[in-house]
């Protein structure tokens, strides 16, 4: 690798300066008018929009919803694929070879083409989305697990068997650790795909999640620049992708410090840093964060899709007639002035829908 000659510190500076340069260009080009700012808003406007979305549109909730789906889908897929891959790869290699054509066809079955069928089977709730996510992640994962199991050092297996290890111990102590690097690589490969597919799925039909937010934000026109919300949500999604893959890469480095590093796409060997001791702290942190996300994320996602499930655009039409409110509506002049003072949708340029529970329109009038 040619970059090895560059000193590390300089390399870090170089890399960071790439990002800095991009940020500056992003800010300067639209402001100077070289690029049409309507289509390509400056970075500061996008950041402001992110703040606004955080405030008004439950951006955090949507992020958690997407992350929850990604994590739950990948966990589900791993729970199915690892045992299945171990059994097929080690105990039934003949069956694995026999099933290969079927697997290849099933892996080619596009999740979008069967979305409706999944919906028919599992209903329009979270379940269908999880199944789709798990389906997407399952096939690459299974393929990696089978490959990993079959590439375990045969001597280790023979040694374990000659000492009369039971199948369950063989699985837990030899096959699982031996195939773990391949499994994690599979997880990393499929998580990239999963995020892309999930966002698209949410765009096509969903009630929460960043894809939904993106779809929603492409339907309204924000005041100074037209496309700011799209860029804002897109930036969030991309950052999540970067973060996910960085976390997995760090996990890989920490857990499999004895393995030479290879990655899903950029197969360039990473510079060998001093990774002499295994560092479990990060792995444990990630695991606990994942568990927390699985527990708390599900609840928050459900709540969010319930609020969004109500008629979208509720925020900008006159408030729904609650019993105390309908009498209010008759004094139209009074009501109009009242509407103006509301700090709701209109002010920030969002003509879209604000989540009813957050809008003061309903809560203001008993």
């Amino acid at each position: 690798m040619a970059t090895r000659n560059i000193p590390v510190l300089l390399l870090v500076c170089l890399r960071l300066s790439g990002i800095a340069l991009l940020c500056i260009l992003w800010e300067v080009l639209p402001r100077s008018g070289l690029v049409n700012p309507t289509f390509f808003p400056p970075l500061s406007a996008v950041l402001q929009e992110i703040a606004a979305l955080l405030r008004d549109q439950h951006l955090l909730g949507h992020t958690i919803a997407t992350l929850w789906r990604v994590v739950a889908g990948i966990v589900l897929a791993a729970l199915l694929a690892v045992p299945a891959g171990a059994i097929l790869g080690y105990w039934l290699p003949g069956l694995a070879a026999g099933l290969n054509p079927l697997f290849r066809i099933l892996a080619q079955v596009n999740p979008f083409s069967l979305m409706t069928v999944f919906l028919l089977f599992f209903g329009i709730g979270e379940k269908a989305k999880l199944i789709i996510a798990a389906w997407v992640a399952f096939w690459p994962l299974l393929h990696h697990v089978i490959g990993g199991v079959q590439n375990i050092d045969a001597d280790l297996l023979k040694a374990a068997r000659s000492m009369g290890t039971s199948p369950s111990r063989l699985f837990l102590q030899i096959i699982l650790p031996g195939a773990a690097p391949a499994i994690l690589l599979g997880v990393r490969t499929s998580i990239i795909l999963l995020l892309a597919i999930l966002v698209a799925g949410e765009m096509l039909g969903g009630l929460a999640g960043l894809g939904w937010l993106l779809h929603w934000s492409s339907n309204y026109y924000s005041s100074p620049y037209a496309t700011t919300p799209i860029f804002a949500v897109g930036l969030c999604i991309s950052l999540i992708g970067v973060a996910l893959s960085a976390v997995l890469r760090k996990l890989e480095r920490d857990l499999f410090f004895w393995k030479p590093l290879e990655s899903a796409w950029s197969a360039a060997p990473a510079p060998r840093l001093q990774r002499s001791r295994p560092n479990r702290i990060f792995a444990v942190t990630v695991l606990s964060a994942m568990l927390l996300l699985l527990v708390a994320g599900g609840a928050s996602t459900n709540r969010l899709s319930k609020t969004n499930g109500s008629f979208s655009g509720e925020g900008d039409v006159p408030p729904p007639s609650t019993s105390g409110h309908s009498s209010h509506n008759e004094h139209s002049g009074h009501n109009m002035s009242h509407e103006h003072s509301l700090p709701a949708a209109g002010q920030s340029g969002h003509s879209g829908h604000t989540v009813p529970s957050a809008s003061p329109v309903q809560s203001g009038h008993p």
């Binding site: 690798m1 040619a2 970059t3 560059i6 390399l11 170089l14 890399r15 960071l16 300066s17 990002i19 289509f39 070879a97 026999g98 099933l99 290969n100 054509p101 079927l102 697997f103 290849r104 066809i105 892996a107 080619q108 079955v109 596009n110 979008f112 083409s113 979305m115 409706t116 069928v117 028919l120 393929h143 990696h144 089978i146 490959g147 079959q150 795909l193 995020l195 892309a196 597919i197 966002v199 698209a200 799925g201 765009m203 096509l204 993106l214 779809h215 492409s218 037209a226 496309t227 799209i230 860029f231 949500v233 897109g234 999604i237 991309s238 970067v242 796409w265 950029s266 197969a267 360039a268």
Partner: protein, 263 residues
Amino acid sequence: MKWIISVHRKLLSFYLFFLVLIVWELAPRMGLVSNVFVPPFSRIVVTGIELGLTNIFLYISISLKRVFVGFILATVLALPLGFILAGAMPKLAAFLHPLTKFLSSIPPFILFPIFVIIVGIGEGGIYTVIFWSSFWPILFTTIAGIQNVDPLLIRAAKSMNAGKLVIFTKVILPGASPTLITGLRTGLTMSFFMLIGSESMGADSGMGWMIHNAQSMGFVERIYLGAIMVAGVGLALNYVLEYLESAVLQWRQAPDSSNKAAA
């Protein structure tokens, strides 16, 4: 007798496949699953015949055209860019590395609304999605492939007074070609995967549109037909690429099995 055994050998891996088809046919007919949700296989074939072979081929060819336009565009841009970045300017490659990583993790679908706003509705959005989803895998594998060429070979060529162009065409390109082809395959698989989604978002023809249309109309048989078509075309593409790979790289000994079964 020998003939039967040889046929049996060839079909061995497809038996399970046939079994699945038979179960698919029988389960709805015997009432094990609702035949509205899961129509028997024969009804899907009948739907396909009713739709007409010409229509099916039309949809497939439209979709394939989109994939290939986007994919070829990505290849034409990504391969030379990868050569330049990895071979001539490794420092620039290091400089651009975080940027490319960030860009590559932008899911292609979010470009769709942006593209629609800038250019308008049409084929362009689909091409962009395809382009984007195949560009990055190709670029990354190209860079990796070039950087992993055995430096000993390059030095040997240099010591024999070979020019830069000669080294590139005679040493680096053949040395990196296995990785390059893997990258192309990943790119094509990815772009085909993304095609259906982008076609159901904004298109008026093609397989993705057909499925999307069937979904909104409630033609369950057509959904299954579309799924089978997509899977079949994807599989065929995969096999063609695998064949090309083995034809181009026949000199490579013992291809690793883990790469070969990539779906």
